[in-house]
Symmetry: C2
Subunit: 359 residues, 2 copies
């Protein structure tokens, strides 16, 4: 690795971006989270293992909503428990009782101070659910209303764009899924810090490729299955830090309409993990290649790169269900470096504060 990327990775002010520093902390933070919270979580969910909840509710806003989406896939797939798509507004703006007796309600918020997430959890508790907070702040309102808290141990996140707390929230979802399954069905969770480290090692390559998108006016992010959360979050990071109009969508939904929309000036970012969704993503890559669409693929399976204009190979040998963790890091690195290349300060998105309060 040359020194060049390091030299370029500076904010307009000349300082190194906090966002980049925080992304690089991720392997260590994730290791601490798994180390400190696993036992407590296993214990807290023991009762639910014996008598599985008929339903799980997972709620967050913005980045935390994307982590909740990842949780939905995990819980339905590994525990076979339906997850409610309950929107927060159903708790806060349309007061109506939900039948939640015996359910598990999870509220996710980095700061723990998003009032709607805390109210939703409180309402769920009153309706008979067991409540779990996932937050980076032990003394927060969210932690106070929950019966158990998974602390993210991400240390203070100073960058407005959430990165290490998002990755930690994903890992927390995987831990909850494992704790519900009762046995270590996902032993690979212990390997997540290593997987994230592999993603961090792709940084120089990602920075090099980000240059190609300096003037991209818009972009579409596509994946299927577990990595649906990844494309939603990557699109959000591109909007927040690069001001690029980005939509993250299911690659299947894409074929049902938005494929009409891609043209020469619309790069498509795809995340293709080895596993059940891979054949679909490979077919999509071939189809887009034929149409001359500019595709950048992030993958852990080199074969698909032959059909992409550009690509990043992140050699994690993880089951597909866990790839959203290292893939999130790839997307964050891409957004951060693209912001820098566009002359923007990723640490200070316009009009955004660190804590957003919505009801």
């Amino acid at each position: 690795m040359s020194n060049a990327p390091e030299a370029r990775a500076r904010r307009p002010s000349g300082r190194r971006p906090i966002m980049l520093r925080e992304i690089r902390e991720e392997p260590e933070r994730v290791a601490t989270l798994i180390d400190r919270e696993s036992a407590g979580l296993q214990k807290a969910l023991q009762r639910l293992r014996e008598s599985p909840p008929p339903l799980i509710l997972a709620a967050g806003r913005g980045t935390s909503d994307n982590a909740a989406t990842y949780g939905r896939y995990l819980f339905e797939h590994f525990a076979g428990i339906p997850v409610s798509g309950a929107a927060l507004s159903l708790f806060t703006l349309y007061p109506a009782p939900m039948h939640l007796k015996g359910a598990l309600a999870i509220g996710l918020s980095q700061s723990g101070e998003s009032p709607d997430v805390a109210s939703a959890l409180q309402a769920a508790r009153r309706a008979g659910a067991f409540t779990l907070a996932v937050t980076n702040s032990a003394g927060s309102s969210l932690a106070k209303v929950a019966e158990h808290t998974v602390l993210l141990h991400a240390r203070k996140e100073r960058s407005v764009a959430a990165t290490k707390t998002y990755v930690a929230e994903l890992v927390a979802m995987a831990m909850v899924s494992r704790a519900l399954a009762g046995e270590p069905r996902q032993r690979e969770i212990e390997r997540l810090p290593e997987f994230v480290r592999s993603a961090i090692e792709c940084e120089a390559e990602i920075e090099r490729l980000a240059a190609y998108y300096r003037y991209a006016p818009r972009c579409l992010c596509l994946a299927r299955g577990f990595n649906y959360a990844t494309v939603r979050e990557t699109a959000l990071k591109l909007m927040e830090t690069c001001y690029i109009g980005s939509t993250g969508m299911s690659a299947a939904d894409f074929l049902h309409g938005p494929i009409a929309f891609v043209e020469e000036d619309t790069p498509v970012l795809t995340f293709a993990a080895k596993g059940p969704t891979y054949p679909f993503m490979l077919d999509l890559a071939k189809r887009l290649e034929q149409q001359g669409v500019d595709v950048l693929t992030f993958t852990n399976h080199r074969e698909i790169l032959a059909h992409s204009a550009l690509g990043v190979h992140c050699p994690v040998r993880a089951q597909e269900a866990l790839t959203p963790v290292p893939f999130a890091t790839l997307g964050q690195l891409f957004a951060c470096h693209l912001a820098l290349i566009r002359g923007l300060d990723p640490d200070a998105p316009r009009r955004l504060k660190k804590v957003t309060r919505t009801l």
Copy 2:
């Protein structure tokens, strides 16, 4: 109304667009749907009224997924029944048993030929769910796997961009919600054709305003609550027919990140219905006004228009929960006229076929 709009509303070929004709049919199609299907649906769901399902699953792709999203809000709000956010890929790509005994599973597909929707419904039926198809085609694969079918009665939809079938799917969701509630808690359903007619009457005004967005490079569509489906669908229509990079999102999530992204060249479309979400939307309009953001508001409450650059007042006196039906029509008219103004053929989006088969 002058003849001018009519004169301009032509495809590049000089012919009148089928999409526009099909939008204009909506009031009549919706009336037929309510008339023909209400009694059968009430009867089919009688058992579920007596012993309410612990869970509802609603699945579709593309436009039909947006109708399913509307259903999620209705069922959770009016029946208090949690709705699973189950992704179709959990049925088709990750075979794992879901606990669906006694549940209600709804599959939505205009053509009834989307194989993943049909397989999901079939899997749900095997897992013990009562299955309901919502489709425009009585002999379709989807109708065949379901125990009861709500036929949309939209007649053949020839435009690739779904319009009248989307509105019919929304109405079908409202009918299911009413049938589950057991009593005519939403008497207003009978008034839906009239509400849609009010939306159609806004066409000339919408066409006039669409001209302002001829060169818009991108756009953001915002609403809260029940109209979340409306902004997802309007953004999809803008992508399909106008090739404008559009994202539809919750106005609350918007404040948690993407507000950084709007700038001079990013128009924001908002849908503000009278009701519980209105105060939030009014505050948002004021905030965006202060920031000089170009906002186009569709509303049934004139007051908010004082804070929008442009606006359309559609005078429907509906409860908020039913406004997504006429508001969908407003969004369709906007997308269709904007496509025409941009010199595009809304009936023939690039690369799209009427029936998309994903697994």
